[in-house]
């Protein structure tokens, strides 16, 4: 989900108050409850003096260098699943948060919270997975910490990764840069990660050949940046809360409307089927290897071409457009000519997805 400081710049239409009596699963799900917690508690009390947001990462100037920083905890259950594991997820997630903030990852630090009794080989497998993911993303893991809690005080292991990166020249992403007419690009099919986790838990009686999409999106972001650099207005990796939540946050933060074309949104049959069974919208399902980019209208085709020609970006597509109206809202138009409002995620239908 990235560091929450994106929210420090949110121009909330009204002051959010956090009045929930206790913390529930939904507060960690990335949707409405998360936003209430962040805007009602963290922003006023903690991030009040933040120097300025970069989207999924914060920007700090150190000795003249523009340093992006992002942190995330990972509590995914189970630890391993088709296509990945918690360690890989942690490294890729941090790399991606930096990438969509327009930063090149330079270093990662990792902290483990481990339940006493965890098999050493389970830890070793994750350490190896992290090392491999870091190597693939071209980033170094430079330090870490380990805490152990009593058996029963954690669920095997939790991983927190923090990444720092160097801001790319010529890339300045911000909700405030978004203009009517801008096009919404998506790097590939959605929902694979969330549904894979669900299936891995055996919660659905469904056989499916599906794997998490966890990967570094850095090569795709770099391809896009090389092609249309300053034409990129905004980027985000739609993890918890999915594409719908990311775009709702954007719509709210830029005060414009985002209109998606239902027939353009790539969703695998398995994901669609699982969502129908569960009564969920694929637009709300978490992704771990896709990203959204809003690109200036006259550069959108060039941006799309750059993505589709890059390895892993073959299924990239333009899924929608920014409009003046309906302000602050995400609409999906169907091929039958109808349209529906897509809201942020409410509740936590798929807990501990990352």
């Amino acid at each position: 989900m990235g560091s929450s400081n994106v929210d420090t710049e949110a121009k909330a239409p009204r002051k959010v108050r956090f009045r929930d009596p206790q913390i529930e699963m939904a507060h960690g799900a990335g949707g409405k409850a998360s936003r209430r917690l962040i805007e009602g508690l963290f922003v006023p009390l903690l991030f009040g003096s933040s120097p300025g947001p970069l989207g999924d990462a914060a920007l700090v100037e150190i000795d003249g260098a523009r340093v992006a920083i992002t942190t995330d905890s990972f509590v995914v259950k189970p630890l391993t699943f088709p296509g990945g594991s918690i360690g890989e997820l942690a490294v890729n997630g941090t790399v991606n948060d930096l990438a969509v903030a327009g930063a090149l990852p330079e270093a990662i630090v990792v902290s483990y919270i481990i339940e006493a009794g965890l098999a050493a080989e389970a830890l070793e497998a994750e350490v190896r997975a992290m090392a491999r993911a870091a190597q693939r993303a071209g980033v170094k893991i430079v330090g870490g910490d380990t805490k152990v809690v009593e058996h029963g005080m954690a669920d095997r292991m939790y991983v927190t990764t923090t990444g720092i990166g160097r801001v790319m020249e010529g890339v300045n992403v911000s909700p405030q840069s978004v203009r009517p007419g801008d096009q919404v690009l998506l790097s590939g099919p959605i929902g694979d990660h969330g549904v894979t986790i669900l299936l891995a838990r055996g919660e659905l009686d469904l056989e499916a050949d599906l794997a998490s999409d966890t990967r570094s999106v850095l090569p795709l972001v770099e391809a896009l940046a090389r092609a249309v650099g300053p034409g990129i207005r905004w980027m985000r990796d739609p993890t918890r809360g999915g594409v719908a939540t990311s775009l709702n946050e954007l719509a709210r933060d830029c005060g414009l409307g985002i209109i998606l074309r239902d027939d353009k949104i790539p969703v695998r049959d398995t994901v669609r089927g699982a969502c129908e069974l569960l009564g969920l919208d694929p637009l709300h399902i978490a992704n771990e290897g896709q990203f959204l980019a809003v690109v200036a209208a006259n550069q959108a085709d060039a941006g799309l071409a750059a993505l589709t020609q890059a390895a892993g970006g073959e299924q990239a597509v333009i899924i929608g457009e920014v409009h003046e109206q309906p302000a602050g809202t995400v609409l999906v138009t169907t091929t039958y000519g109808g349209s529906r409002v897509v809201d942020m995620l409410v509740g936590d239908p798929l807990p501990r997805i990352c």
Copy 2:
């Protein structure tokens, strides 16, 4: 405890192998088992390509700027205790890891792992404590993340803080800089934090007017740096594993002997009493607001004067000296003329102290 990359430079006399079958509490205690885990698993698999250590923080160069980074998870139990709480501990611990690496803290990010059902006011209290601690230390909290796990899958809340800082001019700390004759300075009495936590848990039937020493040591480090800058060879905040473990790591890493004078080591009566009851050495008890500095012989008195004249450094003292022999060992000499070897912490007599 700081990021583990201090260990990446450790010139281990022999290759450490991690063969423990499962993770135990001791692997998070900062002593021998932790070191085995770090050197036998994390260093070879994860930190192999680390650019170079800075002690409690790693050093990364970004656009010509020297950036220090450190991460730590906090799982202290109970969440609040006399003198502090988990949030304050997290911020101070991160500030201190940067400070003793010779870096000025510039920004902190925080990630919470919260057990569903936690009272919102408990979270709010910690958020406020973090904001206050950050303000006192002059550092900004710029971003964060929140994950929620089911009731029973965490112990109320865990906090992971990561800090980045700017390396101070003229301060270059490293075990390799330490020379025979150098003096070992300590900023104040030891063991307050560990014993406070123990008493807060009610595990000792002892009434005591004692509080955690958690605080930012940055002002003291800055005072020392202003006075003797390049004369500072090495610094460390002796948290998990205490002074004994920190100095054993130094002795091993620099290949020299460290001889402490028992009568010079400041320990409050309450701490000494509790340690006697438990059969523990105060040198093994965690501190959260003290630091050790090895200073060149001819600048040690000036360094000590700078510390004792600074607010909060009044009880600073020279506790020992570096010698050629016994190489790689920490000795304590008593007023009766005897001496004893003080080893690293073994096991985890005081779990979840930070």
